[in-house]
């Protein structure tokens, strides 16, 4: 199922890319313009993606089934998404501390003291490393 969705996604991307490239100047063979390569690549990608999509839809052979712990995956991704959203609002140290703690609990780190200590250490340690030592401007 995942393979079908992903192949369909690549087909959609290729088609959108091809259609968008039609709005660009193609030029001619002796004076190619900005849309020249995108048009060529867009056509090739759409054809390949279509062949793959059809092949995936009709093929009998299944990929080796993998057990995905969806709950863990979604919660982990949710933590990362929350980090991206809140980073600018509450600042690097606080956002890192909170999200690090959440991710440690998602990965089933036992107890409260170790997750709290690790979160605090990572939050302040990375802030010091990136902002103070390496001069990166963190939110």
């Amino acid at each position: 199922m995942v393979e079908k969705i992903l192949t369909g996604f690549f087909l959609l991307v290729s088609v959108v890319y091809l259609l968008t490239s039609r709005g660009m100047a193609f030029g001619s063979m002796n004076s190619p313009k900005s849309g020249f390569l995108p048009a060529v690549v867009g056509v090739a990608a759409t054809i390949l993606a279509l062949i793959l999509f059809i092949s995936v839809m009709v093929k009998g052979k299944k990929l080796e089934k993998i057990e995905i712990n969806w709950e863990k995956l979604v919660m982990f991704l949710g933590g990362i998404l929350a980090y991206i959203i809140f980073l600018n609002i509450i600042g690097y140290r606080m956002a890192t501390f909170i999200v690090m703690f959440i991710l440690l609990k998602v990965t089933k780190t036992k107890g409260w003291i170790i997750p709290l200590l690790v979160s605090a250490g990572v939050s302040f340690g990375f802030y010091y490393l990136f902002q103070v030592l390496l001069g990166v401007r963190l939110p």
Partner: protein
């Protein structure tokens, strides 16, 4: 003689305290990335790119290349002691390395892997020292059609060698090229595929894509795997020395592995991994005791482990001489060059001799450092395998997010990182290889520039690209390879239809 003098000058650069420190740190980080799950060599270099902003260009590149070849050795530690390859290039080592460890000869296997890596790495470096300058000089006469042809052939070979399905790999190359066209068109100066999003005008940063697909994707794969207890084979210090018979049986495989690795490393694609399979097959065929393979034959460790290090040195040749990377780690090294305002290619050797020769000399030093550091510290590195994954993975994610933000100080990049992380995760499980996508992004602009300028030079006659000796030869080879792929695909299809079997992976 000139080469020797320049190499000696390179040693004087690479032995400066800051560069020596960078080399040492690089090989240690490389070894760690080879050992720890969820942190591949490409992800590690991508992560350190923003950190290197404040460094001198030579120091930064010495650090990155140290990570690259250090990881080749680090991967062998986990293969031998726990039967888990840290890197794809160490998969073959598991077969006989782990069998040796179970027999109590894990120390000897590790020592032979380290010595083999050192010898083969040096063989590769001698090749790099001799061939890279020669290729650089030859490449000075390259025009846009030649660059187009080299990039095109590289991508076609990559498509053939990467992953299980050439069709999927070809699509990934094209998607990579498509991503490479996002942003300001360097030839015409117009925005393409930016959809009025300002952040897209500067294009999609390759480091962010690499951190996403190789970094975040790998972490996601690691956290969903069921927890497994690591059974670590113990190694005592006195067992680190191979006996006379093991040394005698390893000499030829190490040299053969080094040569196979070097030659394979020149081929675009997953050359380090491919070289290990070739070396293993060669050793099994040449061995007087093929029945021992799979049950702890030292040749099965010596050959492949030498080959992957020989290949990692050879991979640097197209990057340094032509500015064209054909493997994800060298593509990131290219990013490392670019963020420091340096364009690798034919002019690198003459315009930045300190960097060119300093980098090559640092690799000789790094190989010695790997041997000195890794043999006595193998126990320490092995104990890192007990690091709790549940704590390590969130830390890797936070450092990746921080690193991705630091590339352009952009929140938009963090969104891209997440998107490519999820994409990389699902691609891995559905048979889409990540390397062609990454290389497509990097080589796409070279391909476009070469094609557009080549067509303008040749007055739009595409056939003229075939009449120039070098570009013509390379393009004919590319066409033959495409034809080969199509015929192979049709034959397999017809066969499977006749036999009424399920369709093969295409």
């Amino acid at each position: 003689m000139d080469t020797l003098a320049l190499l000696l000058h390179g040693f004087s650069v690479s032995l400066l305290p800051a560069n020596l420190l960078a080399s040492t740190v690089g090989v240690i980080i490389g070894t760690l990335t080879g050992i720890l799950p969820g942190l591949g060599v490409t992800g590690a270099i991508a992560l350190l790119l923003p950190i290197s902003f404040g460094m001198d260009a030579v120091t930064a590149l010495i650090l990155f290349s140290g990570i690259y070849y250090g990881a080749m050795y680090g991967g062998s530690i986990t293969s031998i002691l726990v039967n888990v390859p840290g890197e794809a290039a160490s998969v073959v080592t598991c077969i006989d390395g782990y069998a040796m460890a179970k027999k109590g000869r894990g120390g000897a296997a590790l020592a032979i892997a380290a010595i083999g890596s050192f010898v083969a790495g040096t063989i590769g470096l001698i090749g790099l020292t001799l061939f890279a300058p020669a290729l650089s000089t030859a490449a000075l006469s390259f025009g846009p059609p030649e660059y187009f042809a080299v990039a095109f052939l590289g991508l076609i070979i990559l498509t053939n060698l990467s992953g299980k399905s050439p069709l999927k790999s070809a699509l990934m190359v094209l998607i990579g090229i498509m991503l490479g066209t996002i942003g300001l068109d360097p030839l015409a100066g117009v925005d393409r595929f930016t959809f009025r999003i300002d952040e897209l005008s500067r294009g999609i940063d390759f480091a962010v894509v690499a951190m996403g697909i190789f970094g975040v994707g790998e972490v996601l794969s690691t956290i969903i795997e069921p927890e497994s207890k690591t059974v670590l084979q113990k190694v005592r210090f006195r067992e680190l020395y191979p006996n006379k018979q093991e040394i005698r049986r390893s000499v030829a495989p190490i040299i053969r592995g080094g040569l196979i690795g070097f030659l394979t490393g020149l081929i675009p694609g997953p050359s380090a991994t491919l070289s290990t399979f070739l070396a293993y097959t060669a050793e099994k065929r040449l061995s007087k005791h093929p029945e021992e393979f799979g049950h702890g034959a030292i040749e099965g460790v010596a050959g492949p482990e030498s080959a992957n290090n020989g290949a990692s040195s050879a991979t640097m040749i197209p990057l340094l001489a032509l500015g064209l990377p054909f493997a994800p780690p060298s593509a990131l090294l290219l990013s490392g060059f670019i963020i420091h305002g340096i364009t690798p290619g034919p002019a690198l050797m003459t315009q930045h001799p300190d960097l060119f020769w300093g980098l090559i000399a640092s690799m000789y030093i790094g190989n010695v450092l790997l041997l000195i550091i890794n043999l006595p510290l193998v126990g320490v590195f092995a104990s890192l395998l007990k690091t709790p994954i549940n704590i390590l993975m969130p830390i890797v994610i936070i450092v990746t997010l921080t690193g991705a933000f630091a590339v352009n100080n952009s929140m938009f990049d963090l969104g891209l990182l997440l998107v490519f992380g999820v994409l990389g995760f699902f691609m891995k499980y559905t048979g889409f290889d990540l390397a062609p996508l990454a290389i497509g992004i990097v080589l796409g602009p070279t391909l476009e520039k070469g094609l557009i300028q080549g067509l303008i030079i040749e007055n739009g006659k595409i056939g003229s690209l075939f009449t120039r000796p070098l570009s013509g030869t390379l393009l004919v080879i590319s066409m033959l390879l495409i034809l080969f792929m199509v015929i192979k695909f049709i034959i397999i299809k017809i066969k499977s239809m006749k036999e009424g079997e399920s369709q093969p992976e295409i």
